[in-house]
Symmetry: C2
Subunit: 141 residues, 2 copies
DNA sequence: TTCTTAGATGAGAATCATTCTTATTTAGAT
DNA sequence: ATCTAAATAAGAATGATTCTCATCTAAGAA
């Protein structure tokens, strides 16, 4: 029976990173919070590591980015948010409130990627597509 | 025979904004440069207005955003970039180099929007979609 | 178990993109 | 020409992020 902690450890081992307590809890935070920024991560981590340096949070995030454990998330004018979900997904965004949610729809992904296969972008080596769906949430979270 | 300058003036008049020289040249820069950030705009403007305050650039951009003359452009971890193009378009992005280009394909837009009409996102009032196509440019600009 | 070492962290300083503040200037109406 | 509200200039302030350097420690070897 693998726990979340085991999964997190496995992710770090797969990435050949050291299993420091700080890294474990930061990755846990990234998997638990909704697209947290550095400040939100720091708040979460400080519950168990009151003395963690904010520089460590940033440095850890940078390391995770380099290993592609996580990605940065687009949101104009907001502080950088991070995303640890590896499954293909889109983002629902309300620019007014800054709320950001994952949206999973494999068919939509397939539709876009097939279209771009049939009609490739010239002079561009496509790696992935990201769709932002902008609007308003009509249901309280 | 309308010049670009006339067009710019018309855009500002339509938005009920005053036609200050600074605003004229900033909008010209926004229409001439490729998704400039504030610094790039300031450099462009300083050719004709050496004493412009950087705060004025930012304040002008904010005013243009409020009037929806321009939009901010997503690019994780980069400084805010701005876009004055009003026609529907996607963005081609190379995250490694930071290069960003417009990509026009009305069919792709229609495809996505039709899909989302047929399969609406629950509890979400959709306003627009933005597609980022991530990869590498294979042709020198 | 101990030792070693390269990697990671802590603490605080530095950077810089952006926003704020206040005095001055000016676009546009009359 | 005058007036006024809006816009600008100049510089200070803010805060998210990065840098620096001393210290700590995960993990591998013995």
């Amino acid at each position: 029976m693998k726990t979340q902690k085991d999964n997190i450890q496995q992710l770090l081992k797969n990435a050949k990173l050291r299993l420091t307590p700080q890294r474990l809890v930061i990755l846990e935070a990234l998997l638990s919070l909704n697209h947290p920024n550095a400040e939100e991560l720091a708040l979460y981590v400080r519950k168990t590591h009151p003395n963690i340096a904010v520089g460590t949070v940033y440095k850890t995030l940078e390391t995770f980015l380099e290993c592609q454990l996580i990605t940065k998330v687009d949101l104009p004018g907001d502080s950088i948010r991070y995303d640890a979900i590896q499954l293909p997904h889109h983002h629902l965004v309300n620019p007014d409130s800054g709320r950001l949610e994952d949206y999973y729809d494999d068919d939509l992904f397939a539709l876009i990627e097939n279209y771009l296969k049939e009609k490739p972008v010239q002079d561009f080596d496509l790696k992935e597509v990201k769709l932002q769906i902008i609007g308003k949430f009509t249901q309280k979270k």
